[in-house]
Structure formats: structure tokens, C-alpha cells
Symmetry: C3
């Protein structure tokens, strides 16, 4: 059962336990992802060398695979990290940044997923459609498609892969048999790079402390939505938005979840 209390319980678990989250992610967002994880109370680590990626993954409580600036050597490390995580029952969040924009991205996601099933897949509407269909034409990492359009793709992808699938945008959907619709956040979040990548990293932090990937994903997106709405209320623009988002993740209280976030069956 998803409630304000269940979200809040996971926030407190993340703060108390400080789970180590291993990220193989893109260059653009490494700094902001690390800062968001620190702000919520988790411990980020970034490592991608094939010589150490299995060792690092084995130490972690969750793994994030994000293909935003992928290249050949990194894909090998991603596949190895995913295998290691699966062997150790460590939850895996896959962020298929830009899937559909190029055949290389779409194919890479398909190969990674066929090697090891991720626990959670989080993307915007066009990315989820592309991952599900193996086709697409996304316009960079900013989707013009409403999240609703990707719901069918998300259901299909979840059913075939076994992963919880999150489609995020102005409204978020979390799909796993059930479909939950989450409202919250602030329009300025779309004008800060890496907000989606932050959402994926938070899903990993919450999955590290909650055995239900579905609940963890909903809780993470609700926490981010609450912090984003609170940050948006203080921000003058995208620059102040980014830093207030870290401040609000750090200072998050359950009242902000009550005030800013809605969760309902879709």
C-alpha cells in the first residue's frame, strides 16, 4: 500500500542506512547525480573500468546503468556490472537515455536487457516507447510526447521483461501489472539537465532499502516530486532550481509529500 507514510518510511531508511549506490552513468550528470544522492542521504560511487566494476558493484546496495554518453568500453562495463548485480541480488535501475534517437542506443539497451534483466527501467515517454518497440525517433532526451502515450509500451515492456517501468514527465506513471499515476514536481525541472537521471538514481537508492521495486520506484518519484515542487516554489529560474532541489531533498519532510504529491491508480 502506497501512502505518505510509506514514502516517508523509505526516505528515513535511506537517510539512516546511507546505501551505497553504484552509478555507471553519463558524463553530463555525474556531478548532479552524486549531489542528489548525497542530498537524500545515500552514498554515491561512480566507477566504470572493467577491471573493477564487478568488485565495486558487489559492494553496492543498488546499481544505476545510464546510457546517456555511451561508448564501447562502457557498454562492456555496464553488462558486467549488471551480471554482478544480478548474482548478488542487487537491484538494477536502467535509464535508457535517448533510446530511439539512434539505432546504437536502441540496440544497446536491447542487448543489455537481454543479458541481464533490470529491476526497474525509467525513461521519458519516447524512450520507453523506443525500448519497447526497438524503434523510435526521440528528439534528444526531451520528449514532446505526453507520458500517457507510452503507457501501452510500458505495460508491454514490463510484462515481457519483468521490470517495473517508470514513465516520467509532467505526470509520472509506474507500471508493473498495476499502474500508478504520480503528480508533483515543477515545470522548471525540465529546464535543469539530468533531472530524469536524478529520478533514476533515487529509484536505485530507494530500491536499496525497500524489497518491493514497485513501491521503491513510486516512493522515489514521490520524494523527488515533493522536493521538486518545494524547490520550484523558491526558484527564480533553472539555476536556482537545481540547487534548491538538492536543499529540498536534504530537508525533505513528510508534510511536503502531503502538500505537493498525488498518487492514484491510473
Amino acid at each position: 500500500m502506497i501512502t505518505v507514510d510509506s514514502v516517508w518510511s523509505d526516505v528515513q531508511q535511506v537517510r539512516d542506512r546511507g546505501p551505497l549506490v553504484h552509478n555507471i552513468t553519463n558524463y553530463v550528470v555525474m556531478n548532479s547525480t552524486a549531489n542528489a544522492l548525497l542530498a537524500i542521504g545515500a552514498a554515491p560511487v561512480m566507477a566504470h573500468a572493467v577491471q573493477e566494476v564487478a568488485d565495486m558493484t558487489a559492494l553496492a546496495s543498488a546499481l544505476v546503468i545510464n546510457i546517456g554518453t555511451l561508448s564501447e568500453g562502457w557498454i562492456e562495463a555496464m553488462a558486467l556490472a549488471m551480471r554482478t548485480a544480478a548474482e548478488h541480488d542487487i537491484p538494477i535501475v536502467l535509464d535508457p537515455v535517448g533510446a530511439g534517437a539512434t539505432a546504437y542506443r536502441t540496440r544497446t539497451v536491447a542487448e543489455l536487457m537481454s543479458g541481464t534483466a533490470p529491476t526497474i527501467v525509467r525513461g521519458n515517454a519516447s524512450e520507453i516507447i523506443a525500448v519497447a518497440a526497438g524503434t523510435g525517433g526521440t528528439k534528444g532526451v526531451d520528449s514532446a510526447d505526453p507520458a500517457e502515450a507510452a503507457l501501452e509500451a510500458a505495460r508491454d515492456l514490463s510484462a515481457r521483461s519483468g521490470a517495473v517501468v517508470a514513465v516520467t514527465g509532467e505526470v509520472d506513471y509506474v507500471v508493473d501489472g498495476d499502474v500508478l499515476r504520480i503528480t508533483g514536481g515543477h515545470p522548471l525541472m525540465a529546464r535543469v539537465t539530468g533531472t530524469g537521471c536524478t529520478a533514476s538514481a533515487l529509484c536505485a537508492a530507494f530500491a536499496a532499502v525497500n524489497g518491493s521495486p514497485f513501491a521503491a520506484t513510486v516512493h522515489a518519484l514521490a520524494a523527488l516530486g515533493a522536493a521538486g515542487a518545494a524547490a520550484g516554489a523558491r526558484a527564480r529560474g533553472p539555476g536556482t532550481m537545481q540547487l534548491h532541489l538538492y536543499d529540498e531533498l536534504h530537508a525533505l519532510e513528510s508534510e511536503q509529500i502531503v502538500r505537493h504529491v498525488g498518487v492514484a491508480f491510473a
Copy 2:
């Protein structure tokens, strides 16, 4: 004819069209470049794998090539992206970061330019001198030379390459037969890393919506100068400067261009 209205028209075009700008840029500034492009209203994408760089470039409305942290694999991707852009008539902005500091950088810029002519080259004085002369001795990415010293080099480089050449610093010059001198900005911009890289990325965003590379470059630098001056007026130091710059790019109004920026023939 460059006027406040012509600058403002391009700002509105960028906001309305949200052009996709493909960046092969350095690790240091990827996050800040993406945020600056989002703040002005463009859609940034970063990708460098040779397997996808042609596909990604073909989707874009402008290409930025920035050699700040170059290495062999990336140079191959840069050359391929530039060829692809030229084939699709997509404007190319080349930022020769640190040219002159090492022979490798100077040579790489020469090779990239001999392969495909960029539309716009933007650098500081010592970089432009080094690119023009194939020699140099720049002190990192911060030039002590006044921009004026590079005017002759810029004229020569523009005449030989056909590119619009922008020399930026305390005062900016845009050279293409004509030479325009642009004032604006704020001294704290030099204390934030990647401000020059941001200028290059904005030139690309404006070139995506304006068929005249000369006008687009002047407009982009005027917009940045206006936002920088407004941000500097609110900043306590380089940290607050960086975030206010994003806020002001996002909130830019034509009045700020009137108040803070001067453009004149040099």
C-alpha cells in the same frame, strides 16, 4: 542589421523552436553547457561514440565541437560529426579550447578544420591567435591577452577558412569581413569555468534559428552579455554567478539587452 530587436528576435526563435544542439564537448563543462542551452530554450544532446555520432548529428539543428579534454577516439568522432553536419547543412561551431597550449591541440584543430570547414570558430585571444598561426603559447584556457591582440589573427583566419570568427574576453569581437565589437557581461564570468564554452554553445543555438552565422554569433554573444551583466548584478561571487546566469538566460528580456549590451563596428 544588428539591433536590439534582431537579438531579441533570435532569442524568441530559440525559445519557440527549441533547436536540438549536438555537443561533442569537454567533460568539465558538459553539465553547465547543457544547463545553459536548456536555460535559453534549446535542447542539448551529448554523444560521442563513432557508432552513433553521425546519426545524432543528422537529427540536430546545430553542432558544437569543443576540444577541451580531447583524446584520440573523440577526435575521430568530431571529424565524423563535422562531415555529417556539412552534408546536412547543419551549422558547426568549433571551440578550440587551449589551442596553442600544446602542439596536440593546435594540430588537432588544424586537422579538424582542414577536413571540414566550421561555420563559426569561437575562442579567447590566445586560442584564436594559435589557431590562425598554427603556433602559440596560451596559458591554459584563460588568456591574459586582450581580445584586440587577436583581431588580426581573426581576420586572417576568417578570410582563409570562410568561418565567422569570434574572439571573446572582456570585450568580444565577431569577425567576418566586417568586425563588430560587443560589450556587456561581468568580470565574474571569468571566474566561472566554462563561460567561454557556454558562449560557443549559444552561438550554435542561435545559428540553428538564423541563417546568417555572423548575425547569429553576434546575437548569441549579446544575449549572453546581457544575461551575464544581469547575473553579475545579483551575484555575491562565482558560485552564485553561475546559477544566476542560468536564471537570467531563462528570464532574458529585451530591456536587459538595451541596458547592458553595446554593439558597434570596430
Copy 3:
């Protein structure tokens, strides 16, 4: 003799001379490291290609080697940069991020140090213990060990390597025969990624202007502690903390060192 005046003298030297600091560092912190160096008055450069790394190092007044996101090609560049720095009497700061977390990191640090002795080694307690012992089990880059626990390891490492060893955390220790204990800073610094990496980079900037690596390290950590305490007093959370830290490094006055920092023999 370490005094407020000796710290302040180095701050002024960095501002006056603007030493070029060459960084081969990790992707996560490149932007924040560059901004911190600019804020204190130094000139950062990042370059890692083996084709240019010797040339770039030879231009610099100090070298930072940080293994946070290491991989094979980068290790070769690090070794070459360290050799070049030693040949030119350029001080070398080694930041063994995550040493002990994986065998690859511990081994890489040992190999780099056996190739060329660094001037200064700065890490958290578990990293310094791991570097000293060639073993370890650090939890990512955030150490739960109090700095005191690493004092013996630091003494041993300093004696064997000849390097000044800094163990930073809630309290900092600088070890080189003598042991100095430095208090200052603010708890929020631990919630901003790369604060330790910033400390290493500042040690390099100060070593560029002060011939005593021991004094330079103490001065750099005192300056950071003063700026961090001042920033913490203004911050609402980790987001505002990061930017205020840059502002305070830029605006640092000797009064803040008096107010916020303590240095004593341990």
C-alpha cells in the same frame, strides 16, 4: 611556522600569481574542481591524452592526480604526467579516491607511487589506511572511520614515501614528521560531492606558490575550512552550500580564518 598570517600570505600569493594547476581528475568533480580553483584565484586546466599530457604538465605550476573514475588509458597518462612533473620540480598532489574499495584502485595507487613519488597525498581515513597498507575495505568515498584512526597509517606512509600526507574529515591532520590538527569547515561539506577533491586541488594551488609542501597543505586546508565554515553559515542545504563555498573561497578574508579555523600540534 603556521599562523593566520602564513595562511593569508599564501591565499594572496595564489590570487596574485594565478598558478596554472593541471588536473587529471575524475569526471564527477571536474566542473566543481575547476570552479573551486578559479574561485581561489588559480587557473585550472584539465587534459588527459597521452599525446599532450607531458606538454601540459610542463606548463603547469602544480599537478593533481585523482583516481576517482580511473581506467587504463588514464592511468598511463597519470604516470606520464607525474614523471614529467618530477622532472620539472612541479609539486604533485595524489588523491587516492576509493583506495581500498577495489583491488584495482589500491594497486593503481601503489603503481603510480612506485613510479614517481607524489609531493602530497590527500585522502579520507579509509583511503589513507588502504594506501598505506595495500589493503582495505572503504565504503565508497565516504569514510565512516574517524581521521584519528588513520594517523598511524599516515605517519608510516609519509615516512616511507617522503610525501606530506593529509587525512581529511571532520577534523583534518597533516602529517610529515610533525602532525598538525586542523579544525574548521562545516558538516554540510560532506553532503556535497567532491569536497575532498577540492581540498586536493587547493593543496596543489598552494603548493604552487609555497616551497614547503607541509605548509602549503596546512594553508590550503585552513583556507578551505574557513570558506566552508562561512559558506555553511549561509547555506540552507547541500545545494546552496556548494555555491556559497565558491563565493566564500573567492571572497576569503583573513578574519574568517581567525574566526573559523584552529591549527595545533596533534
